[in-house]
Symmetry: D2
């Protein structure tokens, strides 16, 4: 009944085979910050994340290091020999970011930015497509079809929490929805418990649950010193906490 | 950091030690139906569920066998030597149901029926308290305090899905919320993937996830022949499907 | 197409003819408090509200004056010659409350407490049925059918806000849903902007909108001195603010 | 207390003075369709709407006539001497669309597409900014600040319904939220009952409610023959139904 999974290759990493761990800081803040963090968690991750362009709710918040962030990301990637994923916010940046990162991320806020989806669809870069926090599962699949329609089938879907009335946690992780998504599609499906919950103490049990449920991976925010992180400081794990999960 | 769990005893079963499996049909429909179902799943369950009083959204829907259902429940419980849980809807039925069932269930619709909570709080029966589908986690804890305030601390909390905009599944299982609940309270916490998703194909991965995440148990709807079930027919597992999970 | 409205009579007041104004404090706190408040707003209200039994999320919060509150409610009602509505929480209190109040309120938390609905259905008292904050419109109609099924058709439906992800206001008033409800049923439909928004500055525009949209009335919380109110203090209007709306 | 409203000028129309009516078809389908529709409703509208670029959940759905649609829009606008608003989806189209339309619309799906917001902020065109269906009121204000930050203060905010668990109507119109928004900001605030409810029978009462509540306008979908509309056919009014509202 279940169709064959569509393996997505990010350099030497095959998402859809085994459980893929993507981790790193919310934003690239400096070479030191990214290198320190990445080095400490290297043994337990498959792909390094780090945002150079940050979509913030208000224009006066830190918007990312942009080009400078991309350069740092590539440098650290090469030093440590680990592939990277970073978010793209603007159709005009797709070509540039494609040169610097191994995988392109479409964030929750841009899941229905169809121009951007088509633009990343024109590249042959693997795409990490996050579900919008107000989007239905069917609409996430529609977003994937926009990328597909341009000829790019290297798509990984990511459940990162939806908006509900519950306020104890940052969002409500639609964990059952992620499993359902795997049944409906042949794209790999991962979860992002960091953004979904905003609560570091829930990452470990959710990673274990994700593995047990047969999901394809996880994305986790880690910062070598969360207290000084420039965005989402409260939700990042320390490298020590992170490595403890995968012991 | 984590406080000691408050073990809840339902006859010989200790909820909070190991992973507790509660299963059975949505409603008690006949002695044959309950006995057949229970016998087929006996080896894999700790507690048998079956509703004698059913809270239905419309008065013309099957409302349960009531007293007759209670008698059947007790009979099957004794024949198979397995403890039972059944729902109580009315303060005036608490004493009667307490005679026939080993555990009292407060359903989602009555989570904020404080008269009923206080009434089951006056008994010394263990209580399975389901989260309302429109209730916040704090309010679930408030409901537990109403039971506690009358001197009954034999409480198990159950996450059974909340109402959100997502319509692919019946409700949205707040899986991360259930883990969070375990961190905040010392009551055992279980999940009900049957009601939460309304989708039998999701039960197995969610049971596995619940075990991996350290939750205390699961409640699953099983019917020897789901097609003829008088309520929630679409979401019940067959005994064969159910037993397959626990192989 | 639109059916005839089912007029609900609360003593001399006919809900469903014109725009009915129900107002008063959240809870009856003392004879002085209720009398003072009621006297100041008398000219602009049709029915006086005041809770004697209060459903609070935690057992250590003020639960109402109970029987004493009922006695005060009746006394003030007779002194000022104004009908009253008060909430009933427990099937065992229905008879008593029916002696003291002219209309029975089923609150949001008990909308799916079907035992209670049937019990008020057995009386011939008019019923103010509030929509649960997690309930669908169809379920509100199902709740009304439980009351109807016992022979009582004196039902007024009240939209009081639903739970959504938006947190600027206390709940999200389903204003369009209230209008839709009027199209689907012949029961009068009113709104409760006090509970829905928790924001006194929104009451006036919402009352005006309700009148313009053809709704049947409004329920508003007023306290002669909101600052000392024992519940929901932040959302009550002063009598002066209230009277200003109806100038 | 209330600050002065920031009047937004769309040619001769001043949004923020009186009640502004924006109406027209969901999509521009042909010159005949737009002209016919616009002519029939001209006397009751201030601004004509019509989408040339349509953001659809799936790539195989009608995506709008694009440049051809813009040409038709301008032609009809000039023939009937009525200003227009149309949606922009892509930063690369902002300059072109600005030549053809008098006001730029940011749709719900792109409310958090900050690149696009900044791009329309660089023009001096008035902007109709729709709230995302999963966005909080604060985030809508954050989106407006992105436009403002580039020097464009000609912004009108539009509440068009949010996603909730209620499924009777397409979305839940946050009517109280729209009033609250007017209290918090000096931008004009309008509502879009067509998209919010998807139910033509609710438009008239919601328009009347919007006027009574002091909102600044309304956006309504009208098609000379809704049955043959290429998108959202079920929610458009006929010109006759539309004109009947404003009699």
């Amino acid at each position: 009944m279940k169709q064959k999974i569509n393996i997505v290759k990010v350099k030497n990493v095959k998402i859809g085979e085994g459980f893929c761990v993507i981790a790193g800081p919310c934003a690239v803040e400096s070479e030191e910050q990214l290198f320190k963090t990445a080095k400490l968690i290297k043994k337990n991750i498959n792909i390094l994340r780090g945002g150079a362009y940050k979509p913030r709710s208000f224009p006066d918040k830190f918007q990312g290091l942009k080009e400078e962030g991309l350069i740092i990301l590539k440098k650290v990637s090469e030093k440590l020999n680990i592939p990277t994923v970073t978010e793209v916010l603007d159709v005009r940046d797709v070509a540039l970011i494609s040169e610097f990162s191994d995988m392109l991320q479409i964030g929750a806020r841009n899941m229905a930015n169809y121009s951007l989806l088509k633009e990343v669809g024109k590249t042959r870069k693997p795409v990490l497509l996050k579900r919008g926090f107000g989007a239905k599962i069917d609409e996430l699949l529609g977003a994937a079809e926009y990328i597909l329609s341009e000829g790019n089938n290297q798509i990984v879907l990511c459940e990162r929490g939806i908006r509900t009335f519950e306020t104890s946690l940052r969002f409500t992780l639609d964990f059952a929805g992620a499993i359902y998504l795997k049944q409906k599609t042949n794209f790999p499906v991962i979860i992002d418990p960091s953004h979904a919950t905003g609560n570091p103490s829930l990452i470990k049990p959710l990673v274990k649950a994700g593995i047990a449920a047969g999901l394809d991976g996880v994305m986790v925010e880690v910062h070598y010193n969360p207290k000084i992180a420039k965005c989402d400081a409260f939700q990042a794990l320390t490298p020590k906490e992170f490595n403890e999960i995968f012991k």
